[in-house]
Amino acid sequence: MTSFNALLNAASTLCPPTALRFEGVAFSHLGETLLGPCSFTLTRPGPTLVMGPNGAGKSLLLRLAHGLLSPTQGQVSWSGEGRPRQAMVFQNPVLLRRSAVANLTHALAVNNIPRKARRKLALEALERFGLTARAATPARVLSGGEQQRLALARAWVLAPDVLFLDEPTSALDPAAIKAVETAVREFHQRGTRIVMTTHDLHQAKRLAGDVLFLAGGKIHEHTLAESFFRSPASKEAQAFIAGELVE
């Protein structure tokens, strides 16, 4: 297992995760521009933490990047050939009305994994996320923390090149938050590009490789985490870090 992980780490340093590119991307609804226009490229290994006050457009940015929404202007593109494999973990996990393991085998079936291989992959992922004992439990009666871990396990079995997480810990207790953060690191080590929103500064400090700072639908900063937290360049980010209210 260690050698396998070492191999993965080596692989992730050899070929950095798929780069994401926003070119003049904007999203408006009913004549009101909710995001952008913004341009940036994610080439650094990350994890990329998208930060900013409520209503800044963090979730919107994630949905545009993932393709859940189409930009009304501009273009979202990826490096390399074709569209990379992607997964997303939502603030409130959306789980099917089936057992935990069936939620995973369903995701595998959708991705055309042969029937025979599904159950084994699903059980492996459940074990990795500490849900083995819950395999047969209906997903919707799991605790909040378990549900989010199951959502992460579902993303894990899909072996995505890119993983989006939208405030994945905002409804969880400290122990569950820790489990989610550990999982995020594991994805990162496996070479998955992480793009995650949070409004929790401490969490961002623990996880971030680089930070995209949004306020009022505009990107104010995109820098390495260290320099962002030590010496934010924009007035808005300074205020946000200092814990002030940002317009």
Binding site: L68, A87, M88, F90, V94, L96, V110, N111, P138
Partner: protein
Amino acid sequence: MENNAFYVALSLLMNLDAALFQIVALSLQVSLLAVLAAALLGFPLGAAVALWRFPGRGGVIVALNALMGLPPVVAGLTVYLLLSRAGPLGELGLLFTPTAMVIAQFVLVLPILAALSRQKVEELLGEYREQFISLGMSRLRMMPTLLWDARFTLLTVLLAGFGRASAEVGAVMMVGGNIDGVTRVMTTAIVLETSKGDLPLALGLGIVLLTLVMLINAGAYVVSELAKRRVG
């Protein structure tokens, strides 16, 4: 005593009256077959209308909702015209057979199952949509997942359809003809006995019919409640 409807119902059941047994069996057979066939077409149809956006979609939804109230005699008349000797399907010789009755009830039940399943599936889709798109699912692939995950609400929908089918009399009377031993079902027998003036027998048959429908509903309720508690 013989004029008491409950006594008549009870003695009909106690004596395992052969004629009654045949009527009950045919009633159940016709209605269950009709509902099953309507579900096989109606559930995917309802899910499709919930999933796809196409011109005239609003019209289809209004039509389905309106047809839920289709008068049984109108459905009966339509099927009668189709199956009668001069009709387009007259060659098949289906008029006044149980098959004709199944077809008539199918026509009655289909809009109920399609319209209600459209509503339920659309609600569920609202909850699942982003996750489905995230998983890269096509609309066609979403359909079986939604139908399966809506299984408990769809069971209730199925019962509504069965209630409609087993209770109606107009359609089966017109296309079945209430022929003794061939196409006589509970509701048509009740109409006949009432017009003959044998009110206790008519009422007795009514009680038997009601009991049967209640038993089926109770069974389905228990099954779905148990399953719901398990699946959450």
